[in-house]
Symmetry: C2
Subunit: 211 residues, 2 copies
């Protein structure tokens, strides 16, 4: 069974879209998603990237683009009132969820994405994370306690450092083996790669242009 | 008949891909392409963007990504040995070509894109531009003379300034009426917009996700 490594941060709009589109792709190709919370703020601190340094026309355009993408996918995306937002606790909670329940991290991560990108909730607040944990059937108190565990803090730093070593510079980023794909706009390439790996001839792997 | 405004610069890899993919899309939807040379260096000078300030892992990834995209589209893309490259003369030559022959700018622009992104030619040199002009049946000497005309210089500055006014911050950028699309990764949205405009029901305009 193929695995797609999925590096995401809740602060990333494109990670939100990928968090719902990627699992559907994986189901179609009998692959599994490995949910890897990535602390973008820490990654960007090291690479010197500043998300707020974006030219205004580009920022304006990107919101419009997200809106169109939401319309196309049917995902009920809404621009949050708090942006950017601190996500370290939420990311550590995903790691805690994985330790508490196999697969629990997937449901919890999707719930947190929805809370922020659909319901404009403040996911920097522990009470909001607790509500989302309860919603997906996790023990909220245990989850939050665990998210503060030094070994969980270390795991977030390790996942992020390992991502940087593999060449990750933004989110979402996907890996199939060591082939890296950046951005929700490469989900079609992720899908082709999975189709190719499973020898699924029915899926078109390329469309050669006539020259 | 719908028109797609196509802002491009020869220094932009993604403009190269769009220069061949967009005309095919327009043929399918009986639309026309308006070729609008955009002086990215001048645009970036005003917005403070520095293409060479990109983190190394990102630059490395993007070349790999271009390679995959080339494989998928069948376009014989090759990483040029000179990058970035000065494009002002080449861009002005496109405007000169348009004045000399209706549609001549399309053939000439595609020829210059091929010269740089397929054949590693130095398109900053007038002799190379002259060869490409001849290849597409234009009077090379007249074209280069015309490209130096003060009114052509002014036109390049005007097209670029107008683009900035419309919200353009990079290339390729497409407009259908005042709806803006940035990047070759939005050519599918351009196609959907054209299909919608022409009432072509056969083309899927969205794929609603089940939630």
């Amino acid at each position: 069974m193929k695995t797609v490594d999925f590096y995401f941060d809740f602060s990333s709009t494109n990670s939100y879209f990928a968090a719902f589109l990627l699992p559907e792709i994986c189901v179609r190709h009998a692959a599994r998603v490995r949910w890897l919370p990535l602390h973008l703020a820490a990654l960007f601190r090291d690479t010197g990237f500043d998300v707020m340094a974006m030219p205004k026309p580009k920022a304006r355009y990107l919101w419009r683009d997200h809106q169109r993408y939401a319309e196309w996918t049917g995902l009920p995306f809404r621009k949050p009132s708090r942006f950017p937002i601190k996500t370290a606790t939420a990311l550590r909670s995903v790691l805690a969820a994985a330790r508490m329940s196999a697969g629990g991290e997937a449901d919890f991560a999707q719930a947190v994405f929805r809370a922020y990108w659909e319901h404009d909730r403040n996911i920097a607040e522990r009470s909001v994370l607790a509500e989302e944990a309860t919603r997906v059937g996790l023990d909220a108190e245990a989850l939050l306690a665990r998210s503060d565990d030094p070994s969980v803090r270390e795991e977030l730093a390790t996942v992020t450092a390992r991502a940087a070593e593999r060449g990750v510079f933004g989110a979402p980023t996907f890996f199939i083996d060591e082939e890296m794909f950046w951005g929700k706009d490469r989900l079609d390439f992720v899908e082709r790669q999975l189709a190719r790996a499973s020898g699924d001839e029915a899926f078109p792997v390329h469309s050669k242009m006539e020259r």
